[in-house]
């Protein structure tokens, strides 16, 4: 580069300083089992032998009781909105166009929520207690991932009172 060109350069006022953390995630036994069932189009949680709570995705142990969870429970594909947020900021690499709704969903029969997308409704109509159902992708697209469910969509059922969400247990 000639000196004349260098003089034309602006002073440095900013730098890019990204940090990239490279992981190799190994799913434990419980997560691997769960994802294997998701690949078959099933939602399978685990029940704590002590407090009877049902966890999905299962982690192989009950965080409250500190005991292993072995009993598998296949759950239905209907859920209740426990909480939600409307995302307005685009996330690099995410193909979904904002604004969209991300919700904590409690599947019927479970006592813990997981995050997933809500769609087929107006964002302003989403509310806590709203009833929804999983919309699965075509089985040819299923892999070891919760993305097998494209999103959850509202169903015509009465709202669940907030204090009951995730609290129901089988005897």
């Amino acid at each position: 580069m000639s000196d004349a060109n260098k003089e034309a350069l602006e002073p440095i006022t900013g730098i890019e300083s990204p940090v990239y953390l490279d992981y190799n995630f190994t799913a434990g036994q419980a997560t691997a089992r769960f994802l294997t069932k998701v690949k078959e189009g099933k939602l399978v949680g685990q029940r704590c032998p002590s407090c009877r709570n049902v966890y999905i995705p299962p982690r192989g142990a009950c965080a409250a009781c500190g005991v292993a969870t072995n009993e598998e429970v296949e759950l239905p594909h209907k859920a209740t909105v426990q909480s939600f947020t409307i995302v307005y900021i685009p996330i690099p690499g995410n193909p979904i166009k904002p604004p969209y709704v991300i919700a904590n969903l409690v599947v019927d029969g479970a006592n813990i929520s997981f995050l997933h997308l809500l769609s087929e409704c107006k964002n302003e109509d989403v509310r806590i207690g709203m009833r929804v159902e999983a919309k699965w992708k075509d089985p040819s697209e299923w892999g070891f991932a919760m993305e097998n469910i494209q999103y959850f969509a509202p169903i015509d059922e009465p709202d669940v009172p907030a204090e009951e969400i995730g609290r129901l247990k089988d005897a």
Partner: protein
């Protein structure tokens, strides 16, 4: 009861794509690097600090007296890296070193490409190996090498 599932693994990268404003002092240091020059800054006690600091380490007053420095220095202490990792900037064994640039009083950390650990010693003279293309970043100093 749950049966044994196959082991599932997936590689993924979590990226924090930060951009930072440099401020005038560090910006001037980086701009000088782009021109293959090193500038430090003089503190209230007369010591020359490089990379330059915005504020005096003793009095906390803003600093502004820049000092042009050569691209040579002395190794004050060092640690040899036998097995460089993927994110290191050199793909062969090298030394991390505290290098005191000639004319400065505070060492800075950078790499020394000495080829072999036996070539490293405290007090050795080194000089900058400039990157082939400079862009206004600390890596414009590709590394130091024995002088």
């Amino acid at each position: 009861m749950s049966a044994q599932a196959e082991v599932l693994q997936q590689a993924f990268t979590l990226g924090f794509t930060y951009t930072r404003t440099t401020g005038l002092v560090v910006g001037r240091f980086l701009t000088a690097l782009r021109d293959r020059k090193i500038v430090g800054i003089k503190g209230s006690d007369g010591k020359v600090i490089v990379p330059p600091m915005e504020y005096d380490p003793v009095t906390a007053e803003a600093l502004s007296e820049f000092v042009d420095l050569p691209d040579t220095g002395v190794v004050k202490t060092w640690a040899w890296v036998k097995h460089p990792r993927g994110k290191h900037h050199l793909d062969k064994p090298f030394a991390w070193a505290q290098i005191q640039i000639d004319g400065s009083d505070i060492p800075m950390i950078h790499m020394v490409d000495a080829g072999d650990e036996s070539k490293m010693s405290t007090g050795m003279k080194v000089k900058v190996r400039w990157a082939e293309e400079t862009k206004g970043f600390i890596t414009d100093i590709a590394c130091f090498e024995p002088a």
